[in-house]
Amino acid sequence: MSALAHRIGLRRRRSDRGVSLPVLAALAAACVFIVIGCLSSNIFAEQTVAGLAQGAVYASLALALVLIYRATEVINFAQGEMAMASVYIAYQLLQWGFSYWEAFFVTLAVALVLGIVIQVVLIRPVQHKSVIAVVIVTVGLFILIDGLVNWKWGGDIKFMQAPFGNKLYHVGAVTIARQDIGTLVITIGSVLILWILFQYTKLGLAMRAAALRPAAAALVGVRVDWMLAIGWGLAAVLGAVAGLMAEPSQFVLQPTLMQPILLYAFAAAVLGGLESPAGAVVGGLTIGVFLNLVGQYVHFITSELRLPFAFAVLLGVLVVKPTGLLGRGKVRKV
């Protein structure tokens, strides 16, 4: 495998490493600040815990966005709606009598198939013709899926059982819900599984090759088109996981489930670097915690300004480091 990687030129060079020292130092300092804050103030700790829980949801959708971008250099505007549709499929399975975890895994399988089908039928015909055409197809998909879900299940509020129940744990004076711990564990688990897939399996290597050096990969026998399709399938699975974790955090299911999350997930993905799965998680958790702390302590930033503020900070980061915190700088060869 390493011979294969070497042939395609995927060996990592030291200069390519995405995490630069200043960024690492800044992140470390932020962690220290958070820990000190949690120890010294109860409300600080509570806001941080809540922020981590919400941030895990942003991170899991951001992961799906990053996966698709890494594999196909496309921003999938329909990612949130695909995730939302997956949750409705799970809801329907629950209505038909499946248990929660049965429905969970069946939904992931359905999402995988749907992701692949969408890539093959809708994206493949246009992906080489025009960047903007692909973007528009995903926008059309966004609107189409939203319409289909509203038509089939209606726009009103529905209720699903929570995967991890309602149990609460008390750490000092801070209450942590088992649901939130579950979400965090699943998100980090997804990153780990993804990492193992990409670093240690042939499939993962083939997918990386197909994304970075499609011509060379084709020459050594990688079926590039199928790798892209599988990339979309996996991203759809990640999106489904994100949706299934998002629903209990909102306590209700409605078609607008993923729309606010999509916005913050974009911010998280860009903040962490669009090609870095670890960046997506760091970005998501950072945004979740940051928004809660700012809402608590900075009084000018009222609820109307949360979203603009998050994006303003994001723009600030992009101006300083255009490829995001953990992203790799792209060298343009003339």
């Binding site: 409300i43 509570e46 509020i157 409605q254 078609p255 609820s303």
Partner: protein
């Protein structure tokens, strides 16, 4: 020669006579308003069937069911009601073309029951300029009551009216209750950061009167937010022991569950737009502790007052004309009762508007309501409007939740006036 001249004279005279007759006929004839014929009357309304406010989509469904019931019993003075429901997704940019379509293409007689403050504000200039009734708006904004005689945004709006008690009025009731029963409460308010939320807070402060200082913190959220954890944590941290939730069902559920999850047990007040039983049950299923939560109502309850004539009628109407909603009725979805209450009021006003109603006579009827016979409102409530009062319902009763996760709202105290 003379014969020909005479013939011409006769023809001319007939022509003049015919012209004169038809002219008088045109002047004297009753020019009917659009949307109304001898056998039908066409009305329309815009509702959020999709989008952030779609929790209320059962309201137009209930209204349609009631009109179907009325039609099956001969209609109003022999006219069947044809109700067109359009989806504006709570977006005023969609409401405007929808209303234009209803008025200019479908040529409806009146716009009845449309939901939403911003959608109403986007279209009331248009409807009033064309003298199209835009009545029984499903929102508690006080504009609809005040602006029939007063100039608002440049002109009076005599053709627009509401139905339900206004939000400031409801806020006043809670404020007065707190001032009388819990004068040293520390109040934390969670509110939607728009006119809806701010109206409530204004009313609450008026009701508190000298106890206004009891409010220790106000935390806002956007209508599109799905999570309110940060705000609820902040309210708890400020030491509030009384929790005011001014939200629509989605965020209300989140607020109730979050409060329990963070280990906070304040005395909770809930705006009655979210006090719809199925949503409370869902909140309980997600872990909220509901016992003792206080709200209010102006509607009869299908679950705690099932033997009232109106509730029996409503159940029968749903079973016959909208069977898909039967489960909603059984679980106590007050949106259905609301819809029927509105429809009943419209039908009554139509009957009072005379054998051949016009838009003007409909508005007259709506501006001179005086009836306690609406079977869908809480027993004892009178719908009353006059030249100086354009708020049809101004009475509510406080309710308290008991019975835990399978409980219900139980009224306490007397009927209170929410008017000024």
């Amino acid at each position: 020669m003379v014969m020909k001249g005479k013939r011409i004279l006769v023809v001319l005279a007939t022509a003049v006579l015919a012209a004169a007759v038809s002219a008088t006929a045109a002047f004297g004839a009753h020019r009917a308003d659009p949307g109304i014929t001898k056998t039908s009357i066409h009305i329309g309304g815009t509702f959020p069937l999709t989008g952030v406010a779609s929790a209320y989509k059962t309201i137009p469904a209930a209204e349609s069911a009631y009109y179907a019931y009325v039609n099956a019993h001969g209609g109003v003075n022999g006219r069947k009601i044809d109700f067109t429901v359009l989806d504006d997704g709570y977006n005023p940019a969609q409401t405007v073309p929808d209303v234009q379509k209803l008025v200019e293409q479908d040529k409806v007689f009146a716009i009845v029951g449309s939901l939403g403050t911003a959608p109403g504000l986007a279209t009331w200039g248009y409807t009033n300029a064309r003298k199209v009734p835009q009545v029984m708006l499903a929102t508690g904004d006080s504009f609809w009551g005040f602006c029939a005689r007063k100039t608002c945004q440049g002109s009076t709006k005599p053709y627009t009216s509401g139905w339900q008690p206004d939000y400031p009025g409801e806020g006043r009731l809670y404020g007065k209750y707190i001032a009388a029963n819990m004068p040293n409460a520390k109040i934390g308010i969670l509110y939607q950061n728009d006119a809806f939320g701010k109206n409530y807070i204004a009313g609450l402060n008026q009701g508190l009167g000298s106890k206004k200082g009891d409010v220790v913190d106000e935390e806002g959220f956007n209508a599109t937010d799905t999570v309110v954890t940060q705000q609820v944590l902040a309210l708890k941290a400020k030491g509030a022991d009384t929790f005011f939730i001014v939200a629509t069902p989605g965020q209300a559920i989140a607020a109730l569950v979050t409060a329990t999850k963070i280990g906070w047990s304040p005395t909770t007040f809930l705006a009655n737009v979210s006090a719809i039983r199925p949503f409370l049950l869902a909140a309980a299923a997600a872990g909220a502790n509901l016992n003792g939560v206080i709200s209010s109502t102006y509607l009869a309850s299908p679950t705690t007052q099932p033997n009232l004539a109106g509730m029996k009628l409503g159940k029968a109407i749903i079973a016959q004309y909208a069977p898909a909603l039967a489960a909603d009725w059984a679980v106590g979805d007050s949106n259905l009762v609301y819809g029927m209450g509105v429809a009943w009021t419209f039908v009554t006003a139509l009957q009072n508007a005379g054998k051949n109603p016009t838009r003007a006579s409909l508005m007259n009827a709506l501006h001179s309501l005086n009836t306690s016979k609406d079977p869908f409102v809480y027993p004892g409530i009178t719908l009353q409007t006059s030249a100086t009062d354009n708020f049809p319902i101004e009475q509510e009763i406080l309710t308290k939740w008991s019975g835990g996760a399978t409980g219900d709202w139980h009224p306490f105290g007397k009927l209170l006036t929410s008017g000024r």
